[in-house]
């Protein structure tokens, strides 16, 4: 479909196939290939112009940019072909540590952790500039027993976020709005599943697969959908935190049957998931939850690399509050990209600092899995839709 030869990643130089939209090595966006107009490669410009996200906000689907360049993060030595020339440390690939902050009130950090050799988690964010207004947030956790799961999860997250952000909600009333956002999350899961299926050989022994958690934020209305065991939490500044999702996992089934959470989640099959996105999944329809935001707080999406260490909503809330009190100080250059308007917000409302702190905290707990945290600061706008009282619907 394209005659462009020798295409390669502008960030890390890896060769790329003509149809690739992002680098399989580092995850950076690839420039759109010159196509013959075939309908199978939607260019960014194809996205509905009336979508409720500004072009600037769409920068949200960028990756962390070029690999942390020529300097070793451990000793400051020079990097040559991926390794430090002084201490031999492996230079982190951009794909192993991704940071995004499309607007001041939404941010995410995704990290390889300690024990895993690569980061198979991915996230994608699109948000509007006004604080607490509109956002599409997605986290996908690649299933590590299948091949190319890092590629699959990134493709899934990016496909899904575009679907959620596309189109206008128009003048839909409160009831209709929840249905509309829910339908969009459903469609996003479908798009993500298709993206997963397209990344690998579906007939292979272990076709690529990943989990899916997505949130569609429309001012103080949030619809969350989940397939697998990635989660969403609502952590209000005051009051009780809630887990917005139910895992598709053996542990969740046991809990449904009455087993205590701590016991179920530490069992031998605790991490076996019962649903996922991928050609071999039994069912890929997300389980939806609607949240009406009535006060300031944090919407948190994460992979099990974080919640493994603080599963209960109350534990997650106290971990987040501690993280806000004590922001991460490591890797400031990577974790704090310059963002327009970022300086206008007090530190305690900084989603990036908090997300980075949570990732550092999970790493310090052992980092047994990849860790991805998405945070959105909600309920800070005075012009809510004025319904409800904070109940989960």
């Amino acid at each position: 479909m394209t005659g462009e030869a020798g295409r390669s990643c502008p960030a890390c130089g890896q060769p790329a196939a003509p149809s690739d939209r992002f680098c399989e090595e580092c995850g950076a966006d690839l420039p759109a290939p010159v196509t013959d107009g075939g309908p199978d490669v939607p260019a960014p410009a194809d996205v509905d112009a009336s979508a409720p996200t500004s072009p600037a906000a769409r920068r949200g689907v960028r990756a962390a940019g070029p690999p942390a360049a020529a300097v070793c993060t451990e000793c400051g030595g020079e990097i040559a072909d991926g390794w430090c020339t002084t201490c031999g440390a492996k230079a982190p690939r951009a794909r192993d540590h991704m940071v995004d902050r499309p607007v001041a009130w939404v941010a995410a950090v995704s990290d390889r952790g300690v024990r895993h050799h690569r980061n198979e988690d991915a996230m994608a964010l699109i948000a509007d500039q006004p604080p607490g207004s509109r956002a599409a947030l997605v986290v996908c956790d690649g299933v590590s027993t299948s091949a190319d799961s890092d590629v699959a999860s990134l493709a899934a997250a990016r496909a899904a976020v575009a679907v959620i952000a596309a189109g206008s909600v128009g003048l839909a009333g409160p009831g209709a709005l929840a249905g509309l956002l829910g339908a969009r999350v459903d469609a996003a899961a479908l798009a993500a599943a298709e993206a997963v299926a397209a990344t690998g050989d579906p007939t292979g022994a272990s076709p690529p697969s990943c989990t899916f958690v997505a949130a569609a934020v429309e001012r103080d209305l949030v619809v969350v959908g989940v397939v697998g065991d990635s989660r969403a939490y609502w952590i209000p500044d005051a009051g009780e935190a809630t887990v917005l999702t139910v895992d598709d996992s053996v542990a969740a089934q046991e809990m449904a049957a009455g087993r205590p959470r701590a016991e179920a989640e530490s069992g031998p099959q605790a991490h076996a998931i019962t649903r996922w996105l991928g050609v071999d999944s039994p069912d890929q329809v997300p389980r939806l939850t609607t949240l009406q935001v009535t006060q300031p707080g944090w919407l948190l999406l994460c992979s099990d690399g974080l919640w493994n260490y603080c599963s209960e909503a109350s534990a997650m809330a106290s971990t987040l509050r501690a993280a806000i009190d004590r922001p991460a100080i490591d890797r400031p250059a990577i974790d704090r990209p310059a963002v327009d308007g970022a300086g206008d917000h007090p530190d305690r409302d900084d989603p990036l600092a908090a997300a980075a702190a949570l990732v550092s905290w999970a790493t310090a707990q052992g980092g047994h899995d990849n860790i991805t945290v998405v945070l959105a600061r909600l309920g800070t706008t005075a012009t809510g839709t004025g319904r409800g009282n904070g109940e989960l619907e």
């Binding site: 430090c84 002084t86 492996k90």
Partner: protein, 426 residues
């Protein structure tokens, strides 16, 4: 176009707390062309022992061998003939003037042949002087950057102390590569091995004088096929790491560690001499300064081949800490094989030395271990040569008996062949 490549064989998985990394790096050269093809020239030197012990018959065979060797030298190549006894004499060119070598032409070839005819047995043996002269001759022609010599002897180095030999040998390092051949049973394997090892050559036994010509022709043909004049193996290791050893393990075991020359604080160079179209295997062992956490990965060594300052091939040796025993417990087959072959060479040499010293108990133990290792690593040549020195009752357990009345030549053949390795059966 000369093309080098490097491949690394290792188990990069390290158990929690481990710091030692072992790897076999295979360096392969293709398209080397012929010696002296580039801007610089090749030089070939034939060194013939003409001490009295050679006798008329021995010298006559050596004359045939020298002539056969020179027949293989391509026209245009610089060459010289050295006659050695307790002193070294330049037998050809007759009147070198400032140049100690002549270019091979039909005319000089004929002159050299007649010079060979004048060689006659007389005097003692001082090989250091021969090597010193060979190095001087090689240096006398500035365009010669690849000088190679064949040294033939039949006896021990009697007219020179080991210290004198060392000093003279060191003067030749970097100027000439020397393949050593011993004829008969009166020379010392250890002595020639030391010379060959220092001067990046090989050592072997020529049992009978009538076999010399063929051996010399083959050696010279091989030297002429080495189109790459000189290359270094470079090993980079991380700051604080210790390079435990760098060892060539195929085609023969050769410890390169003592040849170490610093390139920069983290990189050492080990000269490997000239290269033809061939493959050599190196065993590199590095001790990292600290064990990283499980899941962490780091580079343990860069193993490169460099021609001058230019790196032409590179292999990366990695370390990856894991808590999965099934990954960390596995010994890489190449590393295991060559570790066995190296131990085999040591066991044979130690066993023969013990036997010579009359320590039959040690000799039996060492040669028994050698028989066991030769069987384990599938080294049929070593097994065959061992059988001439010991009766192998049970190879698997290393049970052997020393044979009585062993032919000295068989012992020497076992000794010289001890460092030759077999490659891993893939």
């Amino acid at each position: 176009m000369t093309d080098f490549s490097a491949s690394v064989y290792q188990n990069e998985y390290l158990a929690d707390g481990s710091t030692d990394v072992h790897a076999i790096v295979t360096v392969t050269c293709a398209g080397a062309g012929r010696a002296g093809q580039g801007e610089s020239d090749a030089g070939e030197i034939v060194i013939v022992d003409v001490s009295a012990s050679m006798g008329l018959e021995g010298v006559r065979a050596a004359q045939d061998a020298a002539a056969a060797a020179l027949d293989q030298v391509i026209d245009g190549t610089w060459f010289a003939l050295i006659a050695g006894n307790h002193v070294a004499r330049l037998a050809y060119p007759f009147d070198g003037g400032p140049m100690g070598m002549a270019r091979m032409t039909p005319q000089t070839r004929a002159q050299a042949r007649s010079a060979i005819g004048y060689l006659a047995p007389d005097g003692g043996t001082a090989m250091g002087t021969w090597l010193e002269l060979a190095a001087g001759v090689a240096q006398s022609v500035p365009s010669v950057t690849q000088a190679h010599a064949i040294l033939l002897t039949d006896g021990k180095n009697q007219h020179e102390s080991p210290a004198e030999l060392d000093v003279r040998m060191q003067r030749a390092v970097g100027h000439v590569q020397v393949d050593c051949r011993g004829v008969g049973a009166a020379w010392e394997v250890g002595e020639l091995r030391r010379i060959a090892s220092t001067l990046l050559g090989t050592v072997d036994l020529i049992p009978r004088p009538d076999q010399m010509a063929a051996e010399f022709a083959a050696l010279m043909a091989k030297a002429m096929s080495r189109g790459v004049a000189a290359a270094d193996l470079r090993v980079w290791a991380p700051q604080g790491a210790q390079v435990l050893f760098v060892r060539q393990v195929a085609p023969a075991v050769e410890d390169l560690t003592p040849r170490r020359r610093e390139v920069n604080p983290l990189t050492a160079a080990f000269p490997t001499g000239s290269w033809g179209d061939e493959s050599r295997d190196y065993h590199v062992a590095v001790r990292l300064p600290l064990a990283k956490g499980v899941g962490q990965e780091q580079l343990a060594a860069r193993v490169q081949l460099a021609i001058g300052e230019q790196v032409v091939a590179q292999g990366l040796v990695k370390a990856l800490w894991s808590d999965d025993d099934s990954l960390t417990a596995r010994i890489n087959p190449e590393v295991a094989h060559y570790t066995g072959q190296t131990e085999l060479a040591e066991a044979i040499q130690d066993g023969l030395a013990a036997r010579a010293a009359g320590d039959d108990r040690t000799a039996t133990a060492k040669l028994g271990r050698a028989a066991q290792l030769a069987a384990e690593t599938g080294n049929a040549e070593a097994t065959a040569k061992l059988r001439k020195v010991v009766d192998i009752d049970e190879a698997a357990t290393g049970k052997v008996r020393l044979r009585a009345g062993v032919d000295k030549l068989d012992e020497m053949a076992l000794d010289t062949a001890s460092t030759k390795t077999t490659r891993v059966r893939k």
